[in-house]
Every structure is written in structure tokens, then in C-alpha cells.
Symmetry: C2
Subunit: 100 residues, 2 copies
DNA sequence: TCTATAACTCTAGTATAGGAGACTTTTATG
DNA sequence: CATAAAAGTCTCCTATACTAGAGTTATAGA
């Protein structure tokens, strides 16, 4: 049988496009070993919406995004752009790469 | 004449609802002294969309959100939930409260 | 290579976002 | 208090998100 294959969390936590967010969410789901269909049903969104989020489609609503992120264990932070580089440095060591 | 009144940046940078994001974006715009209408036109979204974002409406798309955030100088970060409290502590001192 | 199954794609219907413009409300300031 | 201007609201229209279900493709493991 085909198993759920873990993907790495984005090395740089700075969120500059929906693609980065999709990668983070996919990483959280796959490392938890949950299938797309099961995750969608548990969280309460359609399979298609979850697929679109993981693919980084820009049209998905922030409501669905936060719903899925919280459901799969992904946290977001917001800061003024003037502090971006400081924040990036302070967070960069948090991402632990745990590929298979 | 009525001037653009600065609002504070959210004290806690953890993004758990669209309302927090709206507050951050409104803070960035008002502290830059830019009117809703001018900001919307410059960034390239409708006035209504910017109003909805600042009001924290959950339906706005992630594409528009990132477009406006980048246009107004607001940065987002994404990390695994297991690191949330560490990240919150590391970022909490970054938010400088500069109310009028 | 065979096969079970995870991932992905497609379609159709409904709901809602997004934009443009006009209008109303609120509030600094004279 | 008066008023100019920023903020917020409303309506109509088009585009697109969202869902459900069925079908197709890709791949891990026997």
C-alpha cells in the first residue's frame, strides 16, 4: 500500500507567498501521517480546499487557511516589516528538519 | 480636516484569527499616515477589500492578504505549533508600542 | 510486475469574494 | 457649533471559491 510520505518544513519561516504556507501545512500533515482525505474531513473543509492550500493557491480564504493551520498544528506570527530580519534570525533555528 | 489616527500594533504577535491580522495592517497604514482610499489604490486592491481585511473578515483570500501586508509593511512567519510558545517569547519584545 | 491506496483531477452547482461607484456616518478641527 | 474630510456602508455585477462526487494517475510494497 502507498503510505503518507513526510515532507520537510520550510527552512525559512518568513511567509512571503501562499506556496510557503502550503509547504508548511503539507509538512505538518505528512509528518503526522494523516491522509489528505482524512485530514480534510477531520478539520471540516473539503478535500479540494486542502489540496488547493497545500498547492499554494492564492485564492483560498484566510478563514479556511487558519482553520486548517490550527487543525494541523501550524502557527502564524505577524510583526512590523521593520523587524523582519531580526525575527527571521531569531526563528531560523526553530525549524528542525526531520525528514524520513 | 479629519486626520488619519494611528492605532497600536497587536501586543501579541501570534496570529490566531483574521482580526489580529486586520489590526496589524490597520496599525501599519495609520502609523504611516495613509488614508484607506489612497492605500487601496496604491496597493492595487479595492477600497472594500482593504476595509474587509482591516475588519478581520475571514473570507478574504490569502493572495489579497499578502499583497496588502507587503504593500503596507507587515511581515508574516510560519512555524510548527510545537515551537509556538518559544517563538512567542522570542518575538514579544519586538512590538514597540507607539501610540500617539 | 501486480495491486492497493494515496494523491490528484475534473465537473457541476451554490455561495461568496472582489470591484466600482454612490451614499451615510463619524470626528477632528476651526 | 459648523464643516471638511476620513471612515464606513450599500447595491449591483462579475468572477471565483467552495463543496460533493466520480474518475484518473502515481507509487509503495508484496
Amino acid at each position: 500500500m502507498k503510505r503518507v510520505v513526510p515532507t520537510p518544513f520550510p527552512a525559512d519561516p518568513y511567509l512571503d507567498s501562499p506556496v510557503v504556507l502550503g509547504a508548511a501545512i503539507r509538512s505538518a500533515r505528512t509528518q503526522a501521517g494523516i491522509r489528505l482525505e482524512d485530514a480534510a474531513m477531520t478539520i471540516g473543509v473539503s478535500l479540494q480546499t486542502l489540496v488547493d492550500i497545500e498547492a499554494g493557491k492564492p485564492g483560498v480564504s484566510i478563514g479556511k487557511i487558519l482553520q486548517v493551520a490550527q487543525g494541523l498544528g501550524v502557527s502564524l506570527f505577524v510583526i512590523p516589516q521593520s523587524q523582519r530580519e531580526i525575527a527571521r534570525r531569531r526563528l531560523s533555528d526553530l525549524i528542525v528538519d526531520n525528514r524520513p
